[in-house]
């Protein structure tokens, strides 16, 4: 069995992060959780990460900044955004941030999982 894909979750809501971590681990991913953007960047710098799942509003460093920082390092890293509210003027829907998908909370973990599979070129589950 090859090494599982490593997913970095940036989410300040501990219970949500825990549940998603549980779900994705159950589905065979290796998962690391960070409570904010700064922590997520540190993790990204120290470990090989295959995809990022991030919240937008977080203390210390928000999701938008985190994505910008990461895109500077890796233009192709799959990013899944989970957000409580997306402001109209957010430019995250723009092509230049791709590969990037946006979901509003409450999110369906199966959808997140399927999206990650698709973005990482893995077979889809039903």
């Amino acid at each position: 069995m090859p090494d599982p894909f490593h997913i970095l979750i940036a989410e300040d809501e501990v219970l949500a992060a825990m549940a998603l971590e549980d779900f994705l681990s159950f589905k065979g991913f290796r998962v690391t959780v960070a409570a904010n953007g700064v922590e997520a960047l540190e993790r990204y710098a120290s470990e090989r990460v295959h995809a990022l799942v991030t919240d937008l509003r977080m203390p210390r460093m928000d999701g938008q900044t985190l994505i910008r920082e990461i895109r500077e390092r890796d233009a192709a890293l799959p990013v899944v955004v989970m957000t409580g509210y997306l402001t109209q003027d957010s430019d995250l829907t723009h092509e230049r941030w791709k590969p990037l998908e946006i979901f509003s909370k409450p999110v369906n973990p199966r959808t997140i999982c399927n999206t990650l599979n698709r973005m990482l070129g893995l077979p889809q589950e039903v």
Partner: protein, 523 residues
């Protein structure tokens, strides 16, 4: 004696006067015609005079006119006797008539001189006319003034009334204007001169008599706001009572005016409500985020559980943990919903006793998470705060929330200029003398320009860009605190960390709370 008189009247020895005229018919005719004309004229004058005196009953010295009449009749008679004596030598009779005439003339002349000063004192027709004209002018002026004042009294929308202070100190209505009659459903005629207690409903009398008494006893103008039940519904009046005193300084009358401020009051409440809704609007965005969080947790945990259930990998302990988590999250949402609901509600209820610390806590709870996301920390400094205050808890919470949102705006602005900021400190404590409660909200957002500091409580004063600030927050907050009998002040402070900011201090008087309303509640 009788014989003597007859002898005296005997004219046997005389010749008629015509003899002297040699019976010349032309001379006789001349005398007769002239005397007849004179006599008739003389006789007609007293008739005219008497007629005048009778018709003009008010004529001064009417008896004088009658005296004149007598005198003129006598004169007339002498002329007729002159004709008579042309043919009949009744000279004695003629002499006697002349004697009578002489007395009448003398009396008339004497009376005339005697009356002269008083006759002169009588106003001449021209004087009369002038004084009449002056009088007419005065009457016109007064009429005009009365018309002007009565139209003022009758047409002014303000309720006006005049209360008489009776010798026994009680009050009676002297007059009320149509506006008051209309608003109060009162009949001015029925009210006139009736004692207040008899004239209006007992509940109304109980409300107004103490005010009249206060005005009567102090002898000073008083004004106050009162809510009265009127036929047209409950109305709020701003009433003013002005005492009118007699020479001895006793209040004999009270002039009252009442302005119906019901509409203005309603608008004021409307403004408070609007700003509350505006605050709610800014909170709504944060609220959407707040709500999506527990929903998200619920969704994730139920999906997790469901997946494990499908795979037959769900152990009871895990299921229980997930379900408990879900319940907790629904609680969290329920609280948020409650909060929004109560906050948006019109806080029209009465004032009541409550602990301000609860409001502060509640406000902090509402924004803490949202602010944390923006890296703004709310630090609570719990002092000893046990005293209750009186007011509407939700309104106080609104004031505090607005202080928080101002602090947040200041912090965000300070950061935008490259400086570090991000702390809001809030403290509630009882005053050392235990008379009042002090709430302080301090930020490190850089402070307020001293030149605008005096204006920040003015309505619509804002330094924020259009759409960001309404400038109403602090002015409404001021009104709310003022309504609770307290005060709110702002000053710039230097913090220990070296940064600068603003400290808002709210001081609320603590009323001793009677045991009956010791039921505290908080929003």
């Amino acid at each position: 004696m009788a014989v003597g008189l007859e002898e005296f009247l005997d004219t046997g020895g005389f010749v008629p006067h015509g003899v002297c005229l040699l019976w010349r018919p032309d001379i006789l005719m001349l005398h007769v015609a002239s005397d007849v004309l004179i006599g008739l004229s003389y006789f007609s004058i007293p008739v005219a005079l008497t007629y005048f005196v009778i018709r003009r009953r008010d004529v001064a010295f009417g008896w004088m006119a009658l005296l004149f009449a007598l005198f003129i009749i006598a004169c007339g008679t002498t002329h007729f006797l002159s004709i008579w004596t042309l043919w009949t030598p009744d000279y004695v009779l003629e002499g006697l008539v002349k004697l009578v005439t002489a007395f009448a003339s003398l009396a008339t002349a004497a009376a005339l001189w005697w009356l002269m000063p008083r006759l002169l004192a009588l106003p001449s027709p021209r004087e009369l006319e002038a004084s009449n004209r002056a009088l007419a002018l005065e009457v016109a002026t007064r009429r005009e003034m009365e018309a002007r004042y009565s139209s003022f009294f009758n047409n002014l929308g303000e309720a006006l009334f005049i209360v008489q202070v009776l010798p026994d100190g009680d009050f009676a209505y002297e007059a009320i204007n149509p506006a008051l009659a209309r608003i109060g459903g009162l009949d001015p005629e029925q009210l006139r001169d009736r004692r207040v207690r008899d004239a209006v409903a007992p509940e109304l009398a109980d409300l107004v008599i103490p005010r009249y008494t206060a005005c009567r006893d102090s002898g000073e103008t008083i004004d106050y706001e009162e809510t009265l039940d009127m036929p047209a519904g409950q109305r709020v009046f701003h009433t003013m009572l002005v005492p009118v005193k007699d020479a001895a300084g006793r209040v004999i009358q009270i002039l009252g005016s009442g302005r119906d401020v019901t509409e203005r009051k309603r608008l004021q409440e409307e403004v408070v409500q609007t700003s509350k809704l505006a605050t709610l609007g800014t909170l709504a965005a944060g609220m959407a985020h707040e709500m999506s969080q527990p929903l998200n947790v619920i969704r994730l945990w139920t999906e997790n559980t469901l997946t494990r259930l499908h795979e037959n990998l769900l152990d009871p302990a895990r299921a229980e943990r997930a379900l408990k988590l879900v319940i907790e999250q629904t609680d969290r949402m329920g609280k948020l919903i409650d909060h929004v609901r109560t906050f948006g509600r019109r806080d029209g209820g009465g004032m009541r006793a409550f602990h301000p610390a609860h409001c502060v806590e509640s406000a902090v709870e509402l924004v803490r998470h949202q602010y944390a996301l923006e890296d703004i920390e709310i630090v609570e400094h719990a002092g000893l705060a046990q005293l209750p205050v009186t007011g509407r808890p939700l309104e106080l919470e609104q004031v505090i929330l607005n202080l928080f949102s101002n602090a947040r705006d200041a912090i965000v602005a300070r950061r935008a200029s490259g400086e570090a900021a991000g702390r809001i400190m809030v403290a509630v404590s009882d005053d050392p003398d235990r008379q009042s409660v002090v709430i302080q909200v301090t930020d490190d957002g850089g402070g307020i320009d001293p030149s605008v500091l005096p204006q920040i409580f003015d309505p619509f004063f804002t330094t924020k860009e259009v759409g960001k600030g309404s400038g109403l927050g602090l002015s409404i907050g001021y009104g709310i605190i003022d309504g609770m009998g307290g005060r709110i002040e702002a000053r710039n402070v230097e913090l220990e960390s070296g940064s600068r900011g603003v400290r808002f201090t709210i001081t609320l008087p603590s009323q001793p709370v009677s045991s009956s309303d010791r039921e505290f509640s908080h929003a």
